[in-house]
C-alpha cells in the first residue's frame, strides 16, 4: 500500500512541475503604463457596423499602449525611454491580440497608470461605455488608474516626447501624484470618476492636451451620462473644485483700486445645500468660507496692507469678485451643459427624500431651472512679511 502510494506521488510531482501555468518571468512582461483609446474614423464609414459577419474585422478603435524600457531604468542599456505600440482594432482586447503579434514581451496591465480617451470617442456614448466597462471589469487594471480625456487624439499624447527621457505613463503618474495637487484639475482616479458617474449620472474627467512641446493637464471634460458634453478651462475647473470643497489651495488675482493683487487661499470650507423653496422651486445654496494670505501687493506702498480696514476691503472685493465668477461657472454647467456635477440630485435623495420623490422623474428638466445662491466669505489672515 505504502509503496503504491509513494509511486503514485512520484508520478504526480512531475505533473505539477510540468505546470507552472501562470509563470511568466518578470523580465518577459511588458508593463503597460499608459493606454490610449481613440475612435477610428474612416472617410466612408457607412454600413461598416452592419456587417455582422465580419465583426472581427471591424475597425472601431485605435489602441495605443506604451511601456517603459526597463533595461534603461536598471541602467543596463541606453535607448528610448519607452516602447509605443498603436493599432487599429475592433475592441481593446482585439488590439491587445494584434500588439501581441508584434511585441516580444507579454502584455501586462497590472501596473497601468494612465488611460487617455480621445474626445471623439468620448462623444460616442456607446464606445465610451465599452471602454469604461473594459476598465471596470478587468482583473488587472487598477481602479486607481488615472483617466484623461483629450481634445486631440490619445495616440498623439502618448507618442509625445516628455522631454525628460521618461515613459509617458510614468511621467503622467508622477505629475498627478505630486505632493501638491493642483485644484485646476478634477479628480483623476477612475474610481472616483466612475462612482460620481453612477450616483449622479454626471462627472468631470480631467483634460489633457498637447502643447507646443509638452503635455498639459489642466481643465476638465464634462460628461453627462456617458457622453462628453463640453469642456471647462482650468480656472473654471478650479472654481468647481472650490464649490465642491476640494480645492484647498488656490490663488486669486483681484483688481482693487486699479491694482492687481494676489490672494492665496489657504483653507476652505464649502457646503452645498439644496431644498425646495417657497415658490416650489429648487434652491441650491453654496456657502464658501475661505482663509487667505496676501501674496502680492504693490511695491512701495508701506503700511497699507498692514491695516485691518484695508484687509477688510480686500475681503469684500474678493468675495464679490468670486461670487460673480462662481455664478458664471455654475450657470455654464447648469444651463449650457445641463449636468449635475455638484451632485444636487444625490443630495436631495439622501437628505431631502420627500422632495426627491417629487422631482426625481423629471430631474433632467428641473435641474437647469433651479435657483443658485452663492455666498462667499473670505478672511485674509496674513499678509506676508512686508508691511
Amino acid at each position: 500500500m505504502r509503496k503504491i502510494l509513494s509511486l503514485f506521488l512520484l508520478c504526480i510531482i512531475p505533473l505539477f512541475f510540468s505546470g507552472c501555468w501562470d509563470n511568466i518571468e518578470i523580465d518577459e512582461r511588458a508593463f503597460i503604463t499608459g493606454m490610449g483609446f481613440d475612435k477610428y474614423e474612416e472617410k466612408e464609414k457607412k454600413g461598416e457596423e452592419e456587417k455582422e459577419t465580419q465583426v472581427s474585422n471591424l475597425k472601431r478603435y485605435i489602441l495605443t499602449v506604451t511601456y517603459p524600457n526597463v533595461a534603461m531604468i536598471a541602467q543596463k542599456a541606453e535607448g528610448d525611454p519607452s516602447y509605443i505600440y498603436s493599432t487599429v482594432c475592433a475592441s481593446p482586447s482585439d488590439g491587445k491580440q494584434q500588439i501581441n503579434l508584434r511585441n516580444n514581451k507579454n502584455f501586462y496591465l497590472n501596473h497601468s497608470k494612465v488611460a487617455i480617451i480621445g474626445a471623439e470617442l468620448a462623444r460616442d456614448e456607446k464606445m465610451m461605455r465599452e471602454i469604461l466597462d473594459v476598465i471596470q471589469r478587468s482583473i488587472y487594471i487598477n481602479r486607481k488608474i488615472h483617466i484623461f480625456i483629450t481634445p486631440q487624439k490619445a495616440q498623439e499624447i502618448l507618442t509625445m516626447d516628455t522631454g525628460k527621457n521618461m515613459d509617458m505613463g510614468l511621467f503622467l503618474e508622477e505629475l498627478i501624484e505630486k505632493e501638491i495637487t493642483s485644484p485646476r484639475r478634477p479628480e483623476t482616479s477612475f474610481d472616483a470618476i466612475i462612482t460620481n458617474l453612477r450616483e449622479s449620472n454626471a462627472s468631470m474627467f480631467p483634460r489633457i492636451a498637447k502643447g507646443e512641446k509638452e503635455v498639459t493637464t489642466g481643465g476638465a471634460a464634462v460628461l453627462k451620462g456617458y457622453k462628453l458634453v463640453g469642456w471647462l478651462d482650468p480656472i473654471e475647473t478650479r472654481d468647481v473644485n472650490i464649490l465642491k470643497g476640494r480645492g484647498k489651495i488656490a490663488d486669486y488675482t483681484i483688481k482693487i483700486d486699479k491694482l492687481y493683487i494676489v490672494v492665496e487661499q489657504m483653507n476652505l470650507r464649502s457646503k452645498m445645500k439644496a431644498y425646495e423653496g417657497e415658490d416650489k422651486r429648487i434652491n441650491i445654496d453654496f456657502e464658501v468660507e475661505a482663509e487667505g494670505i496676501l501674496l502680492q501687493h504693490y511695491y512701495g506702498v508701506p503700511g497699507e496692507p498692514f491695516d485691518s480696514s484695508y484687509i477688510e476691503k480686500i475681503n469684500k472685493v474678493t468675495e464679490k469678485q468670486l461670487t460673480n465668477e462662481f455664478l458664471q461657472v455654475v450657470e455654464k454647467i447648469q444651463k449650457q451643459y445641463k449636468t449635475d456635477i455638484f451632485k444636487v440630485g444625490e443630495y436631495l435623495r439622501k437628505f431631502e427624500p420627500k422632495t426627491w420623490e417629487k422631482v426625481k422623474n423629471n430631474w433632467d428638466e428641473i435641474y437647469p431651472e433651479t435657483k443658485v445662491n452663492i455666498d462667499v466669505k473670505m478672511h485674509v489672515r496674513r499678509v506676508g512679511i512686508e508691511g
Binding site: D22, N23, E25, I26, D27, T33, L170
Partner: protein
C-alpha cells in the same frame, strides 16, 4: 516508596550474579577473566598489617581513575598508616573491613558491593575497587578523575549579557553547574544508565512541586524503553525520545547553557544531562521556547521585547522571503511597487534562468558556504564565509546568472536565519525554505499559502511530550496569562505565574512585587 523512587526504580540486573568469594585470588581471577585484554586496567596487589598477613588488591582503570587519589589516600593509608596503628590482625580479623572503611581510607565516598559484575562496572566508570582477602565484599572508592575540559564559554550560544559558563563533557560537573543555581532541596537529580555497552550516565533534573508529573512519567518511561548499545551524544537520546521523527522541527531543545536549563526547570520543565556531551536536553519544548534566548530575561523590558520581536520577524523572513520573491516576480509582479517592479525586470533582463532556478542556485551555494565554513578550521572558516559570500555574489551578478536583487534577498535570508538562538530549529526552517520555493515556483502565492497551511497543520498536530508544540499560541486564555512570555515579554514583575500548560502544582513565580517609586506614592 515515594512517587519518584517508584518512577526511577532501576531495572533489575538481568545478568547472573557472580558473588564475591572469600578468596582474593579467585575474585581477582574472575575480574581478570571478564576484563580480559583490557590493558588499561591496573591491578595492584599488596599486603597489609603486622606480618603482612592480610592481602589486598586495588583495581582501577588507568586514565579514568584519579591516580593521585589512589596513591595518596588509598594505598598510602593502607600500606603505611595502617601499619602505624599496629592492629593486631588476629584480634580484629573479623572487623578489618569496618576498620578500613571507617578508619583508614580518607576518601569521602565509599560503597560496598557483592557482585563481580558490579565490580567490573565500577572499574569501567573510573572508580577504584578494593578487594580484601577473606572477605566477600568489595569496597568501591569514588576516584573518578580524568582529564577534562575546563568550564568555558559555550561557542554555539553566545550572549552579550549572561553567564559565561557552559556545560562540559562531564556529567558531574554539569549537574553541579545546575545545582549551584538552584539551592533548593526540592531540586532533584535522578541518575540512570542507558546503553547496553556504553552504559552512559544520564541525569534527569527537575524540581519537585513544580514539575509536571505526567510529563516526567512519560520521559522516564521513554528513557527506560531505550535499548541501544551506545549513546554517543545527547542527540541519540533526543531522537529516541521525540514524538515525531518525521518533523523538521526539534521537539526537544538542546542547550549548552546551564542557566537555560535552570530557567526551564523553574518553569516546570525537565532537564536531561548526558555524560560525555556538553549539550543538555530540555523537555518539553515548544515553538516559542526555541525562539527565546536567555538574554531576553536579563535585558530590561523594552529592549528585551524589541529583540524578541526582531527574532520572530527574522524567522518568518528566513522562511518566506525567497519563496515570496519567486511568487512575486514570476507570478504576481502587480504586487511589487511599480518602480521596483520595473527595476527588477530591468535587472533580470538577460538572466537566462527562471527566478526559481536563480533563487535555488543562490540558496544552494549559500548552504554550501555555510557547511564549508563549519568544517574548515576556525580562522579559515570565517574567511571563507565572507570571501565566498561577497565574491560569489558579485561574480554571479556580473556573469549574469542572477539578478542583483536576488543577492540581497539571499543575503537577507541568511542573516535572518542566523538570528534563531537554536541551531537545530533554524536548520529545520532552512530545509522548509526550499520546499516553499518549490511550491512558489509551481503555484505562486497560492502555493506559498498552501505550503504554509500544511506547515501549520503539522505544527498544530505536533506535540512535545503531550504539550502542543505551538502552546501558548493556540490555546485561548482570555486573560492572556500564558502570552506573557511569547512574542512579547511582560515585564519581569508582571510574570507572576509559571506557564500553566506545564507547571501544575506550585504556580507562583513571584509574590507581588512593588517598585520602589510606587511604594512612595502609596
Amino acid at each position: 516508596m515515594g512517587f519518584y523512587e517508584e518512577l526511577f526504580a532501576p531495572e533489575e540486573d538481568k545478568r547472573n550474579k557472580i558473588k564475591i568469594t572469600k578468596s582474593l585470588d579467585q575474585n581477582l581471577g574472575k575480574v581478570k577473566e571478564i576484563l580480559n585484554n583490557c590493558d588499561d586496567v591496573i591491578y595492584r596487589e599488596f599486603s597489609v598489617g603486622k606480618g603482612q598477613k592480610l592481602k589486598f588488591a586495588t583495581i582501577y582503570a588507568e586514565g579514568l581513575a584519579d591516580k593521585n587519589l589512589v596513591n595518596e589516600y588509598v594505598l598510602k593509608n593502607l600500606m603505611i598508616l595502617a601499619r602505624m596503628t599496629d592492629p593486631d590482625v588476629n584480634t580484629i580479623r573479623e572487623k578489618v573491613y569496618d576498620l578500613i572503611k571507617d578508619g583508614v581510607l580518607s576518601v569521602s565516598d565509599l560503597k560496598e558491593i557483592e557482585d563481580i559484575n558490579l565490580v567490573v562496572d565500577n572499574i569501567l566508570t573510573g572508580e577504584t575497587v578494593l578487594l580484601i582477602d577473606k572477605w566477600n565484599k568489595a569496597i568501591v572508592i569514588a576516584s573518578k578523575g580524568w582529564p577534562m575540559r575546563s568550564v568555558s564559554e559555550p561557542e554555539t550560544e553566545a550572549v552579550i549579557r549572561g553567564s559565561r559558563e557552559g556545560f562540559v563533557e562531564t556529567m558531574r560537573v554539569n549537574t553541579s553547574l545546575v545545582r549551584r543555581r538552584i539551592r533548593d532541596p526540592k531540586f532533584k537529580i535522578k541518575q540512570m544508565q542507558i546503553g547496553k555497552r556504553s552504559k552512559t550516565d544520564i541525569a534527569v533534573l527537575f524540581i519537585d512541586e513544580i514539575v509536571n508529573k505526567d510529563i516526567l512519567k512519560k520521559v522516564v518511561r521513554r528513557l527506560k524503553n531505550i535499548d541501544i548499545d551506545g549513546i554517543l551524544e545527547s542527540g541519540y537520546i533526543e531522537q529516541l525520545l521525540e514524538d515525531n521523527w518525521r518533523s523538521p522541527f526539534p521537539q526537544i531543545q538542546s542547550t549548552e547553557r546551564p542557566e537555560k536549563v535552570v530557567g526551564a526547570l523553574y518553569e516546570g520543565k525537565i532537564g536531561i544531562i548526558v555524560d560525555n556531551t556538553p549539550f543538555a536536553l530540555i523537555i518539553p519544548t515548544t515553538f516559542n521556547s526555541l525562539l527565546q534566548s536567555v538574554e531576553d530575561y536579563n535585558e530590561r523590558f523594552l529592549i528585551g521585547n524589541a529583540i524578541r520581536i526582531l527574532r520572530y520577524v527574522a524567522v518568518i523572513t528566513s522562511l518566506f522571503l525567497p519563496s515570496l520573491y519567486i511568487a512575486m516576480t514570476s507570478y504576481h509582479p502587480g504586487m511589487i511597487p511599480t518602480e521596483l517592479a520595473l527595476y527588477i525586470a530591468g535587472s533580470r533582463d538577460g538572466v537566462p534562468f527562471p527566478s526559481f532556478i536563480e533563487a535555488f542556485i543562490m540558496e544552494f551555494s549559500l548552504e554550501l558556504l555555510r557547511e564549508a565554513g563549519i568544517r574548515l578550521p576556525g580562522p579559515i572558516g570565517a574567511t571563507i564565509g565572507i570571501v565566498g559570500g561577497l565574491v560569489l555574489g558579485q561574480a554571479a551578478v556580473e556573469a549574469g546568472i542572477v539578478s542583483s536583487l536576488m543577492v540581497i534577498i539571499v543575503a537577507l535570508t541568511a542573516i535572518a536565519a542566523y538570528t534563531t538562538p537554536s541551531y537545530s530549529f533554524a536548520i529545520g526552517f532552512r530545509l522548509l525554505r526550499f520546499v516553499y520555493m518549490g511550491f512558489a515556483a509551481v503555484l505562486g502565492l497560492y502555493g506559498v499559502m498552501l505550503a504554509f497551511l500544511i506547515t501549520l497543520t503539522h505544527l498544530c498536530n505536533l506535540k512535545s511530550f503531550g504539550v502542543p508544540y505551538l502552546t501558548p499560541f493556540n490555546i485561548y486564555n482570555i486573560s492572556l496569562k500564558d502570552f506573557k512570555d511569547t512574542l512579547f515579554k511582560a515585564p519581569l514583575h508582571k510574570m507572576k505565574k509559571r506557564p500553566e500548560f506545564i507547571a501544575k502544582d506550585d504556580k507562583d513565580r513571584l509574590v507581588d512585587h512593588v517598585h520602589d517609586n510606587n511604594k512612595k506614592r502609596m
